[in-house]
């Protein structure tokens, strides 16, 4: 286990800067999720921590040791890749024990560690199979087994669930989290899925265009987004941004879909879509040119074309500076 520190970390490809002065402190044992839209630089940052990508400026330390110029093998890390990167010509057992074998571990030690990991991940029956003979979820587990077998200081996950179907993703999410609780190894996890980030992270780093927009616990980010980008990115459906003029305010007002009530004196929205989801009802509508989405944790009798009066719950509104988009 180890702490990880990023100080003014930069990355450029020729003249194009893709990571701008990133500062992150990850304490020992924490599960940190880097989240952001495609192309925001989160995977590049993870690869820089891994040593697979050279850094242009700044400093990366793992357990107090600057690792800028160290090869990945010397950083004592393990990484799980998006496409698992299992060696197709080796059995599950060989895949899991491969790094130990190349680090000179004895056969007994390799067998012991592989069996320990296989036991944790329920892979015992699959040890002699090749990756091609496994399902997506099983491959994912083997990739995790390969990572934990070496007992590294730091786990790095690069969108490991994006190749799985929705149901399996939820199952594997739980498994990864349980594994972290058990091993308490510092983990950096990259995803573009904010639900994954919210459910798994001790802390979330929201990135956009190579910059860190906000770092905080899932609840902090949800309750107190630092700016319009974070407010819009965290939460599903996304937060509504209502021009202040509609609510007699000078700022942009952010209201989460679940923070509306149907009451007199609210925004008069014309319903454009009603989505009943059993326990919830999602209603989309328009007020002037502004789109509004509201979610009610009950059934609402509304039809397309109806006019509803939606009133933001006063204690739950967020206000953002119209010029800079920062939280007020």
């Amino acid at each position: 286990m180890a702490s990880v520190t990023l100080r003014n970390v930069k990355k450029s490809y020729a003249a194009a800067a893709v990571i701008h002065d990133v500062d992150i402190d990850i304490p020992d044992g924490e599960f940190v999720v880097l989240v952001g839209p495609s192309g925001c630089g989160k995977s590049t940052l993870l690869r820089m921590i891994a040593g697979l990508e050279a850094i242009t400026g700044g400093e990366i330390s793992i357990d107090g040791r600057v690792v800028n110029d160290l090869e990945p093998k010397d950083r004592d890390i393990a990484m799980v890749f998006q496409n698992y990167a299992l060696y197709p010509h080796m059995s599950v057992e060989k895949n899991m024990g491969f790094s130990l074998e190349h680090r000179g571990a004895s056969k007994e030690e390799i067998a012991g560690r592989v069996n320990w990991a296989a036991d944790i991940l329920g892979l015992k029956a699959l040890l002699q199979r090749r990756p091609g003979q496994l399902s997506g979820g099983q491959r994912q587990r083997v990739a995790m087994g390969r990572a934990i077998v070496r007992d590294p200081q730091l786990f790095l996950f690069d969108e490991p669930l994006s190749n799985l179907d929705a149901k399996l993703r939820v199952v594997m999410r739980g498994e990864i989290k349980r594994l972290h609780h058990r091993l308490k190894t510092t983990t950096v996890y990259v995803t573009h899925d904010q639900v994954e980030a919210m459910t798994m992270a001790d802390r979330i780093v929201v990135m956009n265009a190579g910059k860190v927009e906000q770092i905080g616990t899932p609840i902090e980010l949800f309750d107190k987004p630092a700016n319009l980008f974070v407010a819009g990115f965290i939460g599903s459906p996304a937060m509504n941004f209502i021009p202040g003029t509609l609510l007699a305010d000078t700022a942009i007002v952010g209201v989460r879909p679940e923070h509306f009530e149907i009451a007199e004196g609210g925004l008069q929205i014309t319903v454009t879509l009603v989505e009943p989801m059993g326990s919830d009802t999602q209603i989309s509508g328009k007020v002037g040119d502004t789109d509004i989405v509201a979610v009610f944790h009950r059934r609402v009798a509304a039809n397309v074309g109806d006019v509803l009066s939606l009133k933001p719950i006063a204690t739950e509104i967020h206000r953002f500076d119209a010029a800079m988009g920062l939280r007020l």
Binding site: A50, G51, L52, E71, P72, K73, I77, A78, M79, F81, Q82, N83, A85, L86, Y87, P88, H89, F98, S99, H102, R103, R146
Partner: protein, 280 residues
């Protein structure tokens, strides 16, 4: 082939395919059947598709008139060494061009590829002078060294490079995290996965060496040093006319390993080409 076709259409399709196959199969059939015919029957009109008599003595003559077993061995061992040597040169070269980023890599690769455009007839005289200086005339060295460092190896390097480019880079990154050096990544991860491409290279190279004709006739002078394509031309009568039936018997024996290689390795061969993007 689609399985929902009616039997009549299937029959028609098979008939068409068989008809189209005739121009390709006929020369082989002609070679094999003519090797057991007396010379007079080979040129008989109308031609005999199925020989009326079988004269197997032509096969004994193949070995009686020339040191054919020695020549067969020469071809076998030269082709084997050339195949192994070419794979040994082209796989690391292809890997380097696919994976190692260095200034001018693409330009250098283009220059290497340009070697394929130079006909061997153009370089044969300077090569002769070089091997003469090295005292290698009438030895098998030119037939080994020229393909390993010449056009077949360039082509093999191209095939290997295309394969390695298509190999997911994450496999190598995982190996880097696992602690492997560049060479070990190549040796334990990339190369074992390149078996289909290596098989394609092996078949191409083996056939190229097996069929090599210009170089043997330039560099070899003693019959016991000859390789098979050169040996085939030596079955002539006292007037230098070809002894067709004996020549075709020798040609049949020469074609045998090629047929065997194709029958047993055709799947690997096609897979290899498919992997390297050379086919569809």
């Amino acid at each position: 082939m689609r399985t929902d076709l009616s039997p009549r259409i299937k029959l028609a399709l098979y008939g068409l395919l068989c008809t189209l196959a005739i121009p390709f199969v006929f020369p082989t059939w002609w070679m094999v059947t003519s090797s057991v015919k007396p010379i007079s029957q080979i040129f008989a009109f109308p031609p005999e598709i199925i020989p009326s008599s079988f004269d197997w003595s032509t096969y004994a003559d193949v070995f009686r008139l020339q040191p054919f077993a020695q020549q067969y061995w020469n071809s076998c061992y030269i082709a084997a060494i050339v195949t192994i040597g070419t794979m040994a040169v082209s796989s690391p070269a292809g890997y380097a061009f696919a994976r190692i980023k260095f200034p001018g890599a693409n330009l250098l690769f283009m220059v290497v590829l340009l070697g394929l455009l130079i006909p061997s007839e153009v370089t044969i005289v300077p090569l002769f002078q070089i091997f003469l200086k090295w005292g290698m005339i009438n030895t098998h060295w030119p037939l080994i060294l020229i393909p390993i460092f010449g056009a077949p190896s360039v082509f093999a390097t191209f095939v290997m490079r295309q394969f390695f480019i298509a190999l997911p880079v994450e496999l190598e990154e995982a190996a880097r995290v696992d602690g492997l050096s560049r060479f070990k990544i190549f040796w334990t991860i990339a190369l074992p996965l390149a078996k289909p491409a290596l098989a394609a290279v092996a078949i191409f190279t083996f056939l190229h060496s097996w069929n090599l004709y210009l170089e043997p006739i330039v560099f070899l002078t003693s019959p016991e040093k000859f390789t098979l394509p050169q040996a085939l031309t030596q079955y002539v009568d006292v007037y230098q006319g070809p002894m067709w039936n004996i020549q075709l018997a020798a040609a049949t024996l020469t074609a045998l390993p090629v047929l065997i290689v194709f029958i047993f390795a055709q799947r690997q061969f096609i897979e290899g080409l498919a992997h390297t993007g050379l086919k569809g």
